[in-house]
Symmetry: C2
Subunit: 234 residues, 2 copies
């Protein structure tokens, strides 16, 4: 089960600079008395919330990775986003809606529970928060649009290659942890396990990539880039 680890201490929070409170002056935080969100841990595969549940709290991811998935009645599922440290999620209640997807940890995680009522109040009183949230929503929307292009207009190899390039873009040349199974990569890109596996094996043989214990490394980005644009002039 999920576990309440304690109360958050926003003023000393290690990841505040990544959160929606990043722009908030520290002294302002001190003024906010009542606000001490609980920090909660979840184990892998322990659902944080389910699609359809009433959304009364949002979360900030403090540690680990989370996948947001949508599932069809027949069981086929789509990962709509992979969250990283500092990401805000579960805010559908702000629009009077229930959660539109299910949130599942990809590793053991630690989140900060933000009751929407309190968050709304904070947001009203601190334009910096409002602003940061707005920027993030716009950013998410842009990423969602990018993903629609991937899913709607690209072929299997192109999707997988550009996914790998994106995934590894901040660890240039080095190893990146890849805590997603073949199946999950497939659910993210609209492909089957087998298709993902085939291309990855292929690219390993060709020396484009390297893999080891849940980590991946791009060895020949030019080769991958070429695979990302199979038919011609990208």
């Amino acid at each position: 089960m999920s576990n309440i680890k304690g109360r958050g201490h926003c003023q000393t929070c290690q990841i505040r600079h990544l959160s929606i409170f990043a722009q908030l002056p520290v002294n302002r935080l001190a003024e906010i008395q009542g606000f001490q969100p609980s920090v909660v841990t979840y184990a892998v595969d322990e659902t944080v919330y389910h699609q359809g549940d009433v959304s009364a709290t949002a979360f900030t991811l403090r540690k680990g990775l989370v996948k947001l998935i949508k599932t069809l009645p027949n069981g086929r599922t789509q990962i709509v986003r992979v969250l990283r440290t500092g990401d805000l999620f579960g805010f559908d209640g702000f629009a009077g809606e229930s959660y539109n997807h299910t949130a599942i940890p990809l590793s053991d995680i630690e989140v900060c529970r933000l009751p929407l009522g309190e968050l709304m109040e904070l947001k009203k009183q601190n334009p910096e928060i409002e602003n940061t949230m707005m920027r993030r929503w716009i950013q998410h929307l842009r990423e969602a649009e990018d993903m629609m292009l991937e899913l709607g207009a690209k072929k299997a190899a192109e999707r997988l290659a550009s996914f790998l390039i994106r995934w590894c873009e901040n660890s240039n040349g080095g190893w990146s942890p890849l805590p997603l199974s073949r199946g999950e990569i497939g659910e993210l890109l609209g492909l089957t396990i087998e298709t993902v596996s085939r291309f990855l094996s292929d690219w390993k043989r060709q020396g484009f990539i390297n893999e080891q214990r849940g980590s991946i490394q791009i060895e020949d980005i030019a080769g991958l880039r070429k695979a990302a644009c199979s038919s011609g002039s990208c």
Copy 2:
């Protein structure tokens, strides 16, 4: 070319109840002196803005329909959203970004130009606007997630059928204008012209749908629903 039709008169605007200013009391509008956005018209296929352009103005759609598209270097394109009356678009500048997609009218349209600087100011002074925009961003994000599920997890027939059902859901049983070509429906759903045409013809023959001069009607929604869930238990 695009045409400046004149200055908007927000207080008497016919579509204000659909816009981001819907929640704003009319008397508040009267107090806002400087704000008189220009109303501009564009003809079909005349681009409102291009992916990559600096985003300094947002728009509210007053009349007609707009498609937002993303294009791959090789020419394949994806429609990421179809806008309706009252929709706000082109706000990437709020996040310091340039436009992430290209906006093209599907019919002759009329838009309200909203310089982001002025809009930002208005938003600061009127929490109702802020709030409405937030709700819309969340709503868009939800729709984008829904679309990712369509594109990533459904087959051709399922995508097309559920698109038709969604498109017609507000005109129950009656005719709905469908100003999208086969090609555009394909670009929206990640399919080719031929695939779209084949299923539509098929469903016309089966009496599920009816079509006439750019309008469509669902005659047998149960039949379509079945097509929307080809493999089993949805």
